[in-house]
């Protein structure tokens, strides 16, 4: 089922959360809405679900306008940021809730409900915890219960609000891969909201990068990373250095090359003199903080450990920088 939003506008009081957003999400796609807090990504997700009503614009599922459909009839699976599990129900009862809530003509028989709940719990690897209460589960387990509960009603689309936000780093990474696999197995059109660019780039088929209620760029993770459409996108997708010249030039830390001596005949003629201010070991990479000697600013460069060993850099050493890949944007006035 494809999702299409057209020209959606939403204001809260004087705050413009969404400003004329249009977006098409294809059938079977796993789509990420990525942006800083306040960019309107969660509001957009809630409007798609029907939990929020847009001031203007339309939401279509498979070319069918669903604006008039109440949230309980839109057949969306929604996973809340804090899971919103029913605290007074066991895991199995939580998952069964949606099936039991169906009108009696469509409601499966009791044995069938039980069957389907167990199948779902098998899928999320929680079959042995069916009778536990939510308070007795870990964060990752709760997340999987919430997913099973949302999938139990066989939704047409699956919407996830910051699905990994409340988990610690290790669980988060495991669950991320697991969700990707689940999505590929079930094949349901899914949208998730995140402020974590790694998460969006790793998990999604396509990413919408949002800022101030607008979509700055929409594309595959590769496209948005390689060809960012604006300074905002570039800066949001990772650390970036700003070179002040005639125009603002952005360079990612891994694209800053360091050499101990002046390089003759450099491509851009850029031999920026700098002094090493700090060397930070970040596990697989080494982050080097550099103070420019020709301009009052600092830069960051990222080297692999091997490169760092080869160069044998020392703190306080004078080096020359050149740039491998740079980004310049038109109309780039905001800082």
């Amino acid at each position: 089922m494809s999702i299409e939003v057209q020209n959606i506008t939403k204001t809260f009081g004087t705050f413009r959360a969404l400003d004329g957003i249009s977006l098409k999400i294809e059938t079977g796609e796993l789509h990420a809405l990525l942006g800083p807090s306040g960019s309107g990504k969660t509001t957009l997700l809630r409007i798609i679900a029907g939990l929020e009503i847009a001031d203007q614009g339309q939401v279509r599922f498979n070319d069918e306008i669903v604006d008039a459909e109440h949230v309980s009839r839109r057949k969306v699976g929604f996973v809340f940021q804090h899971y919103a599990l029913f605290r007074h129900m066991s895991v199995a009862e939580n998952v069964a809730f949606g099936l039991k809530a169906r009108p009696w003509r469509l409601r499966p028989r009791r044995a069938e409900i039980k069957d389907r709940v167990m199948k779902l719990l098998d899928m999320v690897q929680l079959a042995n915890l069916a009778h536990r209460m939510p308070s007795q589960l870990s964060g990752g387990q709760r997340q999987r219960v919430a997913l099973a509960r949302a999938l139990a009603v066989e939704p047409k689309v699956l919407l996830l609000d910051e699905p990994f936000g409340a988990l610690d780093a290790k669980v988060r990474r495991e669950l991320r891969r697991w969700v990707r696999k689940l999505h590929d197995d079930v094949g349901i059109t899914s949208v998730f909201v995140t402020h974590d660019q790694d998460e969006a780039l790793e998990l999604a088929d396509r990413v919408s990068i949002m800022n101030k209620g607008k979509i700055e760029q929409l594309g595959t993770p590769e496209e948005v990373y390689e060809n960012p459409a604006s300074a905002f996108v570039l800066r949001f997708l990772g650390n970036v250095n700003l070179f002040h010249g005639r125009e603002k030039t952005y360079v990612r830390p891994q694209d800053v090359l360091i050499s101990a001596n002046l390089v003759e005949g450099d491509v851009d003629g850029e031999n920026v003199p700098a002094e090493i201010e700090h060397i930070g070991f970040g596990g697989s990479v080494v982050n080097i903080l550099l103070k420019r000697l020709d301009h009052p600013s600092t830069l960051e460069a990222t080297l692999s450990r091997e490169q760092h060993k080869e160069l044998g850099l020392q703190r306080g050493q004078r080096v020359y920088l050149s740039v491998r890949d740079q980004h310049v944007f038109e109309n780039d006035y905001d800082i």
Binding site: S72, V76, F86, R87, H88, A101, R149, V153
Partner: protein
Amino acid sequence: MSAPAPVVIAPTDASVLPAHLRHPTAAIGKWIGVSFTVLFLTAMIILPAANIFRQAFGISWESLRSPSQLVEDVKAGVPRYFQVFRMPEQDSSTMARPERRKYQSARAQAEKTRSAIGMTLGIAAIVVPLNLLFGLAAAWAVTKFRFRGRTLFVSLIDLPFAVSPVVAGLIFVLLMGRVGFCGDWATKISWPVPTSLEWQGFAQSWIPLGFSNWQRGIIFTPFAIALASIFVTFPFIARALIPLMQNQGTEQEQAALTLGAGGWRMFFKVTLPQIKWALLYGTILCLARCVGEFGAVSVVSGSTDPNDTMPLRIEKLWQEYNTQAAFSVASLLAVVSVMTLLLKIVIEKRAAAQFSDKKQEAQ
């Protein structure tokens, strides 16, 4: 998830200063604090409460010293206690005239006392369900919606706490009495007595049930007593629910909606189970207050014997120098209080258990 407030915050270990942080003089403070509290509670609550039962069973001070006297007192006291509520039937024709009059008067008094107990239970049976509905609706409206005048609405819920019950009663008298604002209407209206509901067959109308007893007017009737009791007790349930529902937010309800639940299912399967302890707690407080209310009821009851509730009956017995009977009826109210207290402890424990669930979930 924000840390939610429980119905009543049970003392947690966090509220106790760890022993190694205490100042050496803290031991003296603890001793003074504990002994003063114990003395105060004994003088103000435990002794008066015990005295109610002593007087009700007619146990004399001497029996504190001699056990044989105590046995004797109890032997005489227990039947007399029950005679306050029901005078056993005796053949009064053989009695001498003074005995007969005494017996007949005691029988009449017991009759009135029983009617007062019935009145109190009847009023509670009407008031508590109504306030349950009102409290739920008010808490629901205040916590799950934002509307103009919401703050004023919340303050109005608290109004009965701020108004003296006598004034509350007087409000109804001034509103619905003969010269009151709605007096013309309120003295002419007639209403059915709920206990007179009976099977009347299909002869008169297509509804076979009907009331055989209708009363006229509102003020100085049980109708007014119910109104005054509703006024005095309506904040209890709403007050117990509002803080809890405020902290719970609406996320679980939203989840229920996305899963296809309608409004009723959402309320009965998701909202209600989560507030049940607070609801029960508020209901018990409401019931206890309704049964024990004196001031407001006294003003609107008109002091006629059939309109007496238990507290009014106690006062009348006391005024008639029937001390033993007054304390006997009071002992029933004391039992209600003790039961309220016990239930409150149980509920607090259950609510605290629910609270600790939530704390884990917040992590």
